[in-house]
């Protein structure tokens, strides 16, 4: 049951689907590039972890779920939140620390939450949201629902005890949780072979008797296919799965490590950039006749406009008033 799957050549690409996937990936890419600019200008503070290079994972996985399904992620979660359907304006306002942000500016880049689209948050402690994902799966079953949970985390979370506790609980209790490890090969600056005795992360599924699979994390269609099967099984049989999406982050760990150059070679980064998921998918769309070069340009233009609007919205949004310091500490 557990095996590495090679993406099968799909049927001819549907134009609407192609447009939707590419638009979302472009939106995340442009949003992140803009966020980096805004960070450099001092508009965004603290830590900022960019998702550039990994867009296919969030977009592909979300595209095979329903709006009422849940998603939860780490602190590198802008892409997951955007893919889930959150308003880029409100995400940018959150990054700016403004009152119209998703959390009224009190969460910031690492803590995006959007209850309106069942996005259970960006969590800042590595591995800590995996038990929460299991809890959401538990809650779905307890309430008799048929939703599933997508839980995204990096390879850095795999050595954490909570990864293993969560997989064990999800397997033991048959919870509908898809654990998606975005293996970008570096936990901050620590290469995977320096952190894990078993670097084939999908193989940990065997230990817990659940479905495990590795997939090309740069191929949005392969991710759709792989996560789609896991979602279908989870919805039908209430079973978890572990998917290892092999990807790469083109930028550093955070804006404080902009180049990510100390622990990896320039040659490696340049080589990986040849696998750019947006370029690969854009070419595929044109080759398949799903989109034209002109369509690609239009998509890019629309996305640029949308991100510019998000920045304008964030700029115009006021800072949270002083009384916000004390609201939401407790709920009445």
């Amino acid at each position: 049951m557990a095996q590495t799957k090679v993406a099968l050549p799909s049927a001819r690409l549907d134009t609407e689907l192609a447009r939707r996937l590419l638009t979302q990936m472009q939106l995340i890419r442009r949003f992140e590039e803009k966020a980096a600019e805004m960070y450099a200008m001092g508009k965004i503070g603290g830590f900022l972890h960019l998702y550039i290079g990994q867009e296919a994972v969030a977009v592909g996985a979300t595209s095979v779920t329903r709006l009422d399904d849940y998603a939860v992620s780490s602190y590198r979660e802008h892409g997951h939140c955007l893919a889930k359907g959150s308003d880029p304006k409100r995400i940018m306002a959150e990054l700016f620390g403004r009152i119209d942000g998703l959390s009224k500016g009190k969460g910031g880049s690492m803590h995006l939450f959007d209850k309106s689209v069942n996005f259970l948050g960006g969590h800042g402690i590595v591995g800590a949201h995996l038990p929460l994902a299991a809890g959401a799966g538990f809650g779905i079953k307890y309430q008799g629902g048929d939703q599933v949970v997508l839980c995204y985390f990096g390879d850095g979370a795999v050595p954490e005890g909570e990864f293993h506790e969560s997989l064990n609980l999800a397997a033991l209790w048959k919870l509908p949780v898809i654990f998606i490890c975005e293996n970008n090969r570096y936990a901050m600056g620590t290469a995977i072979h320096r952190a894990l005795a078993q670097t084939e992360i999908w193989r940990f599924a065997e230990t817990y008797g659940i479905h495990g699979e590795a997939v090309d994390g740069m191929d949005v269609l392969a991710i759709r296919e792989c996560v789609g099967r896991a979602v279908e099984r989870a919805r039908r049989d209430k079973v978890p799965a572990l998917i290892e999406a092999r990807t790469y982050r083109f930028r550093g760990h955070s804006m404080r490590d902009p180049a990510g150059a100390v622990y990896r070679t320039k040659e490696e980064v340049e080589r990986e950039k040849l696998r750019d998921p947006l370029v690969i998918f854009g070419e595929r769309c044109v080759k398949d006749g799903a989109l034209t070069e002109a369509d690609l340009k239009l998509i890019e233009k629309a996305v640029y406009d949308q991100v510019d609007e998000a920045v304008a919205f964030a700029e115009a949004s006021p800072e949270p008033p002083p009384e916000e310091l004390f609201t939401d500490v407790y709920k009445d």
């Binding site: 500016g105 948050g121 402690i125 299991a134 809890g135 809650g139 779905i140 969560s166």
Partner: protein
């Protein structure tokens, strides 16, 4: 009714009242609780709502937080609160902060309950006052119920609360008996202290085992003409500072007793609050009687030295009243 039975009744009543309430933890079901607090619950409510977990405190506490995000009301049992250290990140960084970090979108109505505080010859890792680790954290409420009636009324309020509540019982109190109201809606609001004994010369603040020790000392010192008022805070966060301070304004003296090690303990906080609010009313500095600043030893003679004795408490009160 015993303190243990009062807790059991509170759980049953709240589970009958609200199908969203479930109990999760190590040995809570088939084994009926390491300390039998959940006795009979599996039989009444079944495996869906009384869930035995593997030994993974961080994992199942996080499951509680995640389930609470979906609108459920989990009661997570720590077999003993000493084990909650393994779940500290889930309690402090997840449960306590999600409401704030999400701008109020996700509140976490989670109760984490179980026994804590000094026990009998359980040595350093199983016999310590864990409330200290939690009451510092904005977003958490911390309850220490000293009587069977409080055990019921405060646990029910904790389960109905919209926020994460740390509810620390005591192994040494499980068997004590007391009157417990039968009313299924008997609730004691969180953040409300109780005056356990009225007096005029000194206000003594104590809870759990130390409360009972203080009550005995108060009887003895009454013979010497010292009239002691005893305040049981019941909830450590939010703290009912108003009741404490108004008592001190009447007695002009204040002694805080705590079982845990004294450094940066509850006594430090209450002493600070009292001097800020009622400095001019004080006739003596606020005194702290605390556990010694050492881990809990196993040897019985050393264990007795670790926690404030009646003699030590009496001596400190006499000194403050001199």
């Amino acid at each position: 009714m015993t303190y243990r039975e009062a807790l059991n009744l509170a759980l049953r009543e709240e589970m009958r009242r609200d199908p969203r309430v479930f109990v999760m933890g190590e040995e809570v079901g088939l084994y009926e609780g390491a300390y039998k607090v959940t006795q009979g619950l599996l039989k009444e409510f079944g495996e869906k709502r009384i869930i035995d977990t593997p030994i993974c405190e961080s994992g199942f506490t996080g499951v509680g937080v995640g389930a609470a995000m979906l609108g459920l009301r989990p009661v997570v049992e720590m077999m003993t609160f000493n084990f909650s250290i393994l779940a500290l990140d889930q309690i402090v960084n997840s449960a306590a902060k999600l409401c704030y970090m999400s701008g109020g979108q996700y509140n976490i109505p989670l109760v984490v309950r179980g026994p804590g505080g000094p026990a009998s010859q359980l040595a350093a890792q199983h016999s310590q006052s864990m409330e200290t680790y939690f009451y510092h954290v904005p977003g958490l409420k911390v309850v220490r119920p000293s009587t069977p009636a409080d055990a019921k009324g405060l646990l029910k309020s904790s389960i109905r609360d919209e926020n994460p509540v740390i509810f620390i019982e005591s192994e040494t109190l499980y068997a004590i008996k007391g009157e417990v109201p039968e009313d299924p809606d008997y609730l004691i609001p969180l953040g409300q202290a109780a005056i356990r004994r009225e007096g005029t010369d000194v206000t003594v603040i104590a809870y759990m085992g130390m409360l009972y020790r203080a009550l005995e000392v108060a009887e003895e010192l009454a013979q010497e003409g010292i009239s002691i008022e005893i305040v049981d805070p019941r909830t450590l966060r939010p703290m009912d500072t108003e009741t404490i301070v108004s008592s001190v304004r009447r007695t002009h003296r204040c002694v805080v007793i705590e079982a845990g090690a004294g450094f940066a303990g509850m006594g430090s906080e209450i002493a600070a609050e009292v001097q800020e609010e009622a400095f001019d009313d004080l006739d003596a500095p606020v005194a702290r009687i605390t556990g010694e600043n050492a881990p809990m030893p196993y040897a019985r003679n050393l264990e007795l030295l670790k926690t404030p004795s009646k003699a030590k408490i009496a001596a400190a009160i006499r000194k403050v009243c001199a």
